[in-house]
């Protein structure tokens, strides 16, 4: 299994997304670097719509992740309910 990563801008909008990832993905590594946050996981990383929606207190659209995304590595699965990176 190999690493996937998602990098988001370090700003207000990204905070609930990062928190949701932290909640839903066991063992993720979150590193803060100037201007950005790098989130690394083994094999799989999922951003769940419902978790983020709960944290922001409104209906959050999975595609809003694009607004704050800096980079990623892995195979992308984008559905209504989740945004997922995988690599076997």
């Amino acid at each position: 299994m190999s690493t996937v990563f998602l990098i988001l801008q370090d700003n207000e909008d990204a905070r609930p997304i990062i928190e949701a990832i932290d909640q839903d993905n066991e063992g993720v590594v979150i590193q803060y670097q100037p201007g950005m946050v790098r989130i690394e996981a083994e094999g799989k990383l999922t951003v769940n719509r419902d978790t983020v929606s709960e944290l922001v207190g409104r209906d959050w659209d999975v595609q809003e992740v694009h607004l704050n995304m800096v980079s990623l590595s892995g195979n992308v699965e984008e559905e209504d309910e989740y945004f997922k990176l995988t690599r076997s």
Binding site: T3, G35, L67, V70, L72, E79
Partner: protein
């Protein structure tokens, strides 16, 4: 009850499928003349799968949102004279190189993705390329807008398009892109979407942009990350096209591998500029080029190619050379620009004591042994009033067009790496195996290269004197040369009300 909204996949399919048709007035091969001659065989374009499913309505909504945020930050940066919060005015020189060298590529990408958006037979691929074309135009525009603020206060940013077409060092990014654009559509998309955007541009848009933030440039990091948020979509397109090609026909595999090998090397050579921006032009670097290479190339791409191994693809040829060069690259490129600082539209300088110590720490295997003695000699020459410039023009690599300065890092890092090929009884020099192989596969293409040094000698660049050539480049007198004592430097000192620590630092260097 209202009809149930289609799910994301269905929405996207509705946008991209079934809009094409079999033409009858003209044969399909005449309507789409470019997408077969490369030898790539596509059996079923409907197997094309877009991993990102951004339909047009959401595309505009999110892009507008991104721009709104970016322009708010740019405006506040300009209104608050954000340039005063930079760590040092030396930093701006990286932005000069950015607008001269990178922004024209964004525009080139805009044009060529529009071309692909017309010329792929599959509608899914066409739509993806059309959107990317619009993205690339946005990148060029937001970069110009952001950097226009610096253009009010610093030299060297006044004519990037003219410079991109003419200047010797800008022929490096330009010729790479034109090499890709003059290939067929599959070669171009492999080059730009995969080799450049998936494999390599993280190195520019992630650690370098993070470095921009670290040095106080909120405006640039914002356009960088805003562009990069599109880039994630582009990267995924790059990965999809690779998989699609190799899944469609077994004959495609060797062609795709050759595209990857070639364009990894072409794009990597261009990134020599980024290596120097990262290590030398960021006054404070949060991460070295070598460390960035380890994370964003070695780690990330091993994982990527482990994944692609199932399709029969392997790591790009000569990646191990690139990795070995990571300990040398930024030093060799910076030393070259220092040598030719009088003919560049940005400033160069020698690192101060603190920076040299940082370089020693980050490059324990190479900096003190090979580069510190050179840089200390340059500083001594400068202190003696003989700032070193080369009074002559460099030999260039026939393919990457970079001066032949890279050394044979795997065997003897003090010896220049060189290859020579013979074609129709003429010699063609290249900087190593990567560029040599590219030349020898298509010599007819590369013997036409517009090598800036040879063009000067042929009398095509405004005259034979350096000053005439610089006029032809539309360089202004204060655009280049040594940073210390330049107009940019003086203006910075006036703003900051300091007589600057450079001279103090110099004194220390010579005292120690």
């Amino acid at each position: 009850m209202a009809a149930k909204r289609l799910n994301m996949r269905k929405r996207y399919e509705a946008l991209t499928r079934g809009m094409g048709w079999e033409t009858t007035h003209q044969p399909m091969d005449k309507v789409f003349p470019y997408d077969t001659y490369e030898g790539i065989k596509i059996k079923d374009w409907d197997k094309w799968e877009d991993p990102f499913r951004l339909a047009v309505d959401s595309y505009w909504k999110y892009q507008a949102e991104k721009d709104k945020k970016l322009y708010a930050i740019m405006d506040s940066f300009a209104q608050n004279n954000g340039q005063l919060n930079l760590s040092d005015a030396r930093y701006i020189n990286a932005m000069k190189l950015f607008i001269q060298g990178v922004t024209p590529l964004e525009y080139g990408a805009h044009r060529h993705y529009a071309h692909l958006g017309r010329h792929f037979r599959g509608e899914g691929a066409r739509v993806a390329c059309q959107m990317q074309s619009i993205d690339e135009l946005r990148h060029a525009q937001t970069q110009i807008h952001t950097l226009s603020h610096y253009n009010k206060h610093f030299n060297g940013m006044h004519d990037p398009w003219h410079m991109s077409d003419r200047v010797w060092y800008l022929s490096v990014p330009k010729s790479y892109f034109e090499d890709a654009m003059t290939g067929g559509p599959f070669e171009f998309i492999t080059s730009v979407s995969f080799a450049f955007e998936y494999v390599l541009t993280n190195l520019l848009f992630v650690p370098f942009m993070s470095g921009a933030a670290f040095n106080g440039d909120q405006a640039t990091v914002t356009f960088g990350f805003s562009a990069q948020s599109d880039e994630s979509r582009h990267m995924t397109l790059g990965l999809e096209i690779i998989k699609f090609m190799v899944e469609q026909h077994e004959d495609n595999l060797p062609i795709v591998q050759r595209f990857i090998d070639k364009h990894f090397w072409r794009a990597y050579r261009v990134l020599g500029l980024v290596a120097m921006m990262q290590d030398y032009m960021l006054p404070n670097s949060p991460m070295s080029w070598k460390a960035a290479w380890d994370i964003y190339f070695t780690e990330n791409c091993s994982a990527l190619f482990d994944d692609l191994g199932r399709y029969g693809l392997r790591m790009p040829k000569y990646h191990e050379v690139a990795t070995a060069e990571a300990e040398h690259l930024s030093h060799q490129v910076w030393a070259t620009f220092y040598n030719y600082g009088h003919a560049a539209a940005f400033h160069t300088w020698m690192p101060d004591v603190k920076k040299m110590d940082w370089l020693s720490e980050k490059y324990p295997n190479t900096f003190d042994e090979y580069y510190r003695p050179r840089f200390e000699t340059f500083r001594e020459m400068e202190a003696a009033g003989e700032r070193h410039y080369i009074n002559g023009l460099p030999q260039l690599c026939q393919v990457c067009q970079i001066p032949m300065v890279f050394t044979d890092v795997l065997n003897d890092p003090t010896m220049v790496s060189r290859r020579v090929s013979i074609h129709n009884n003429s010699k063609y020099h290249t900087c190593g195996d990567g560029c040599r192989d590219i030349f020898e596969f298509e010599p007819e293409k590369y013997i036409q290269a517009w090598l800036p040094v040879h063009q000067i000698y042929q009398g095509n660049c405004g005259g034979s004197e350096v000053s005439e050539v610089l006029d032809w480049y539309n360089f202004q007198p204060e655009d280049g040369g040594e940073y210390v004592g330049s107009a940019d430097h003086q203006r910075w000192q006036e703003w900051k009300g300091t007589a600057e620590s450079v001279s103090d630092d110099r004194t220390q260097a010579h005292a120690s």
